[in-house]
Symmetry: C2
Subunit: 402 residues, 2 copies
């Protein structure tokens, strides 16, 4: 029997307990041994809970218990999750987590500590919820030179964008609705401004490059400025608007950004709707591969945490194989990346100098809003685009086109 | 340096050589050692080929060479692939293959032999081409009780169905086109009658149940009877027609079948178009997870073979972990499965007794063909459906609706 501790009995922690209990027999068959939840750490009381007897407020008891070989860190946030994780790893206990903030901020250090103590720091659940993505990236696509990872990495914003697309709703209305049904938090900034997607693409990029991509260096633009009129323009182009996290390697250059994009129907991410996530990986041999599923939610996220527990349980004493060094990777400027751009303009297309500024740009042939027009530029470097865009007198906004 | 032999220098075998050579540096970084193609076995000559010096006709030289630790079996077919694979495994050499016929026919025996000789028999490429599916199923979704696997598993038929859907073409025309551009073989039976998809779902079902699902026991219906009018009816229902391989577990009952289905837009497989494959896995915790990519083709398939080579190379002397016993799994009758059905009828809907026979069935409210009508049944067991369907005087055909 292998004893497991769960740190944090919130949504994901509760899910981990449920998955370990309800799928116990199947999981034991895969591990070759039973897994037993010995402790659940939380500062709150849970009278009447089915796991009440396992709940403790004493972290040190868990740390000191040699029977506990694996801990699931489902507290979220940096404090005290960082200190707890470090102490557990230093005691040779593997830690499996869904905590993307901690992984993005301290991943390489915690992986190093795990290796030094012959245990594992695993974080499949930190990106894409229940979707297997980290293990496939590291263990399956091993014959590939991966040059791009693009993902719909945040379920809240994807739910909102899907609603706006299908129902022609306004941003403010879908945000209120998402908050009302629990898909968005009261303070929705982390989701809608792209910060959550940014941490996730930082983790994927770090795993790809095996060095540390600092999420603060990633250009990040959320969806809070997307309007229903933008969707009308997207519709004219038979496109959808999706918030993408992206890292791309071109020769020696390495890029990452988070921004809303106009996607065409042939892009596999186009059909990833509602709260679902999708991660598209492009390799030089395999072309596009996509991993799709529930990017959040109690049980899907818990399932990914428990898949890490199974890995740790099957390989006692084996250090993490993940290569992610502390060395900072310096990203190149996104201004070197090439996109097309949808540009919305005030005034009359006949009067503007847009056709001269953007040679080869194509005007959209329908009027969405009186007194406005729009065009799509050819593929061009973002730096060149921005310079020209800023020179236009009557530009309203632009959205990247992929 | 780890020496590798490639058996069969056809499309996939050539791709394996290309991937190992062109991505050598990246792959060596992952393995921790260089991989070297020492032999390529083929009965043909390849004058001027970039790997000409490695080509041999002598299988026994490969078998006897202790330096060769891993072989890629990319010959296809049962003979001599079976004998070669067996001999190599008995000599302790791991074998990685794309040969779904051999895996479906002799998988459990070859896995057992590999285990007995501390080497591996790996076959990621046998299902879904370049898509990681076998390893994710075995190593990632380990916290799940998987109750259904449904896949678009054959690129040729998916290409044809996509063409019929988009262009309103006839079956015979798209088949000719697919043959002309190399997507379909001159004898297309294995693809269009569903036999290829059947072997693939047999492999996935065997891995799910850890016993042997005999592909000959799987009810298999291909696409050769699908017409452009069927797509017109599907369009009326906002649905697409896809050839699905499916295995489903309900309680103690275990089912598998291959057949064309009408899929609704919300099904993630709906958008899997052209030669792409998609495999949807449903678990009790994670809900739906989909794996998408190129299900065939030289380099994608080779990429999957080489990912197996990387695994075998990283774990010398370690036996296959795959659990798939020789014990036959007896499938339950597909007549117990529940579907809805689109039924096409001759005559006038007012005169038929279809509404009495199929209580709750809904007529489609547009005439696709003069003198025909169609309806969709409620969800019902296939056995009940067939009995009632066969009692209808003027039925033309039916297609399952998922």
């Amino acid at each position: 029997m292998i004893n497991v501790a769960i740190l944090g009995y919130g949504t994901v922690g509760g899910g981990v307990a449920d998955v370990l209990f309800d799928n116990a027999k199947t999981i034991a068959g895969r591990v070759g041994e039973e897994l037993n939840v010995k402790y659940i750490l939380d500062i709150r009381d849970f009278p009447g809970d089915r796991f009440e007897a396992k709940i403790t407020k004493d972290f040190n008891a868990i740390l000191a218990d040699d029977e506990v070989r694996i801990a699931c860190e489902t507290m979220g946030g940096l404090k005290p999750a960082y200190d707890f994780t470090k102490a557990l790893l230093e005691a040779g206990k593997s830690v499996c987590t869904s905590n993307k903030e901690l992984v993005a901020a301290h991943g390489p250090e915690l992986i190093r500590i795990a290796k030094e103590h012959n245990c594992m720091y695993l974080f499949e659940a930190s990106v894409g919820g229940g979707i297997p993505i980290i293990r496939p990236l590291l263990d399956c696509l091993t014959a590939e030179e991966i040059d791009e990872i693009t993902g719909i990495l945040n379920g809240t914003t994807n739910y909102m964008l899907t609603k706006m697309d299908r129902e022609g709703s306004d941003y403010d209305d879908v945000l209120k609705e998402a908050q009302a049904n629990g898909y968005a938090e009261r303070n929705p900034e982390a989701d809608v401004e792209g910060y959550d997607a940014c941490r996730k693409i930082a983790i994927l990029a770090s795993l790809k490059y095996q060095k540390t991509v600092n999420y603060e260096q990633i250009y990040t633009e959320g969806i809070s400025k997307i309007t229903k009129e933008d969707f009308d323009y997207a519709g004219l182009l038979n496109r959808n608007i999706k918030l993408l996290g992206m890292c791309r390697e071109i020769g020696e250059k390495k890029y990452a950004l988070v921004a809303p994009f106009l996607l065409e129907e042939s892009n596999p991410l186009y059909s990833v709707s509602d709260v679902f996530n999708g991660i598209l990986v492009h390799g030089n041999m395999v072309d596009n591969v996509m991993f799709y599923g529930r990017g959040a939610g109690k049980l899907p996220t818990a399932s990914a945490v428990v898949s890490d527990v199974v890995e740790a349980a099957k390989k006692p004493g084996k250090p993490s194989e993940i290569i992610w060094s502390d060395e900072a990777l310096s990203l190149d400027s996104k201004d070197e990346l090439e996109f097309k751009y949808l540009v919305r303009m005030k005034g009359n297309p006949a009067n503007g100098n847009w056709e001269k500024v953007f040679e080869g740009a194509k005007e959209l042939d329908a009027e969405i809003i009186a007194g406005e027009y729009a065009f799509v530029t050819p593929l061009m470097k973002e730096g060149d685009f921005l310079e020209k865009y800023n020179s236009l007198g009557e530009a309203i906004k632009f959205i990247r086109v992929k």
